[in-house]
């Protein structure tokens, strides 16, 4: 039997949802019939609206997905203004205040505490500057990720931005592709450093070269079926197809249609294309694509550039992220700024927008490491830009522990989360910076924290992988983390294996400190990277090197943060929740 979600989608989905959102916004939250909540909230996702978790009813998360993470001049400021006007919660967050934007690991922006009543105006303001929330969530083409410095970077091989934009323009609001069995994540990489992270996407275009009719053509190799979620991580598989830039959109459309027709609509847990690739194998996928979904002869794969991939790769030479000052092909510079766990307060957001306008072109680009990049800064302005006060916090030269930190949304807003994440990760990074000396030669050290196995923070491809768990400590259930080691992308990507499980969250900084000390003592030489060191050892050996312990690190979130309406509220009890609320924030009394 088709799932409820499939039935709701059959009844009404895609662009038809817009008018209904406008109607509910006009009439108010209460106008959504009680017995249709599940159906409407599922549909709203197609327009980038995600109902927040229990205790926060009537408030929404809104996601905005610019292709390749490129926010054109003016767009970033507009988003900050929208956050300033509409993204305010009933309580403060102790690290971040009230009013911020989140930069996500798929180069999108997330706003929280959005009220349905404000959505039409927000849509208008986004459209004014050419932005949209269409298909940011839901079962269709999500934000297309890719090299955030496409068109600017010296490592570029083929123009990823052109293809990302073309895919975006073709497959957003495209009737034939708007209702897929599950989310559809596409990545376009154009550089030899691999910063599109294609390996963990449903569909990946990766730079390659191919001899066709005696001529060397630059284009893309195609991989299918990557993804990290659900304890079932997969790297995208090589389907032995090379696409010229002219063919790429047709190949993408063919694979999307193949997924539309063959993905599992009975069982949502089995619906992602990674499971279809498991079942069919890459050969059958290629055959079916050739026979039924494209009308030209597919080329076999060309020569790729994976050998030089360095992004998030742990050991390789080359860039591991985009932080810092880097020369562009045109002689100007791009400046990557570190954003701790991806969150930017609105006041600082204005200052950043001003700086991007004054010293660069005003463009602000978003990276898959939750950071931002100013482009087109001329050589003379680089030093002036560095002096701007807001860059002390959003630094082009951050401490490695802060630079390497990624955290997902967590119990603050997310239904699935087991633990608090963002505030905790900020506190971890701060403690590590103050208390732990990085071993000689270690300049990049990535710690990714995800609240659950959905893996939004991409924990399996970090030096230290952290994943939300619970344990019992002194007889009480407390928030805990599993610790994984050995993950990273690069030529030979590898998922972390989970070495130490259910470590109380307040013992994790101590565990990382001890691990690094043990690494420093036991490694062959200063030339051995952490990833190499881990690859050389089996799980048992590694487990001995992680020695969890309490330190002077203090963790205010050990209790069940999920069982609060907001983990940081003074009175955080679920029964004290001010939600659901009317448009002006006054609580709506429940009738029972």
């Amino acid at each position: 039997m088709a799932s409820d979600v499939e039935q709701w989608k059959d009844e009404l989905y895609g662009t038809d949802i817009r008018a209904e959102i406008e109607r509910f916004a006009e009439e108010g939250w209460d106008a959504i019939p009680d017995d249709e909540h599940d159906a409407w909230f599922e549909r709203f996702k197609w327009y980038g609206l995600y109902h927040q978790r229990a205790g926060q009813e009537s408030y929404f998360m809104m996601r905005i997905g610019p292709p390749g993470g490129v926010l054109e001049p003016g767009q970033f400021r507009q988003i900050v203004e929208i956050a300033d006007d509409f993204s305010r919660g009933p309580a403060e967050n102790p690290e971040f205040g009230n009013g911020w934007i989140d930069v996500t690991t798929r180069q999108a922006i997330q706003l929280h505490w959005i009220r349905l009543e404000d959505v039409p105006e927000i849509f208008d303001r986004l459209e004014e500057v050419g932005l949209s929330t269409v298909q940011a969530c839901g079962d269709s083409w999500r934000n297309i990720v890719g090299c955030p410095v496409a068109g600017k970077d010296k490592h570029e091989h083929v123009d990823a931005d052109a293809l990302a934009t073309e895919l975006h323009d073709t497959f957003k609001e495209n009737e034939a592709h708007s209702n897929l069995p599950r989310k559809w994540k596409v990545s376009v990489t154009g550089c030899d450093e691999g910063c599109g992270q294609g390996d963990i996407n449903d569909l990946a275009f990766e730079p390659a070269e191919k001899e066709i009719d005696g001529e060397t053509v630059t284009g893309y190799n195609v991989r299918v079926g990557g993804g990290l979620s659900r304890n079932e991580p997969r790297f995208a598989r090589n389907i032995d197809v090379f696409a010229t830039p002219e063919q790429a959109v047709d190949v993408a459309g063919g694979i999307s249609a193949l997924f539309r027709d063959n993905g599992d609509r009975e069982n949502r847990y089995n619906a992602r294309i990674k499971f279809l690739v498991d079942e069919w194998g890459p050969e059958k996928l290629r055959e079916t694509l050739q026979e039924e979904y494209v009308d030209f002869e597919l080329e076999t794969a060309g020569d790729d550039l994976r050998e030089s991939y360095s992004y998030n790769a742990g050991e390789a030479d080359g860039k591991h992220d985009h932080v810092g000052v880097h020369e562009q092909v045109d002689g100007n510079y791009y400046v990557g700024l570190n954003v701790l766990v991806g969150r930017i307060g609105v006041d600082e957001g204005y200052e950043l927008a001003d700086a991007a306008d004054e010293y660069g072109s005003g463009e602000v680009r978003l990276t898959q490491r939750q950071n931002i990049i100013f482009t087109d800064v001329d050589e003379e302005s680089v030093d002036d830009l560095r002096e701007v006060p807001v860059l002390e916090k959003y630094s082009p030269d951050p401490h490695p522990f802060q630079r390497g930190s990624i955290a997902c949304t967590g119990t603050e807003f997310c239904s699935l989360s087991i633990v608090e994440t963002k505030n905790r990760q900020v506190r971890y990074a701060r403690w590590l910076k103050e208390n732990v000396e990085l071993p000689e030669g270690v300049e990049n050290f990535h710690i990714h924290l995800s609240g659950c196995t959905a893996s939004c923070a991409q924990p399996q491809i970090a030096d230290v992988s952290l994943r939300g768990m619970k344990t019992r400590k002194d007889g009480e259930p407390v928030e805990a983390l599993d610790i994984g080691l050995g993950g990273g992308l690069g030529e030979e990507p590898q998922f972390a294996s989970w070495i130490a499980e259910r470590i109380p969250a307040d013992e994790v900084p101590g565990a990382i400190a001890n691990l690094l000390e043990n690494f420093d003592e036991a490694r062959d030489s200063e030339a051995q990277s952490f990833r190499e060191f881990v690859a050389d050892r089996d799980d048992e050996e590694l487990a001995d090197l992680i020695e969890p312990e309490e330190t002077d690190y203090d963790d205010p979130f050990m209790h069940n943060t999920k069982r609060t309406w907001y983990p940081y509220a003074e009175d955080d009890d679920l029964d004290s929740s001010p939600a659901p609320a009317k448009a002006d924030g006054t609580p709506i009394p429940s009738d029972d």
Partner: protein, 107 residues
Amino acid sequence: MTIAVRTLDDGAWISVNDSRQVSVSDVWTLSHGSFCECEPAYVLLEGFFGVDVSGSVVVADTVGRCLECGTQDSIERLPVGRVVDGEFKPYSPEGVQSIVEPGAETD
């Protein structure tokens, strides 16, 4: 009256009559040693993959992990609450739960 039950948001919730009632990532106390050897077992529910109504009792298929011994396994038909006069009353995760469905409940 009919009771509409379903899992939502990738197994994050059990929805009863369009209201999100039972959430994943709570720790349930299970007796009878049928999940693992621990007695009682403190089991973190990691996701719901099915839900059904048995008489007035809402039962969920779920995946959990024991916080003591680390056993990870699925649990079929875990009673998570019951409907009384049309209103859902969740069972408390902290209360010791038999993971065997109460057979007599067929009203």
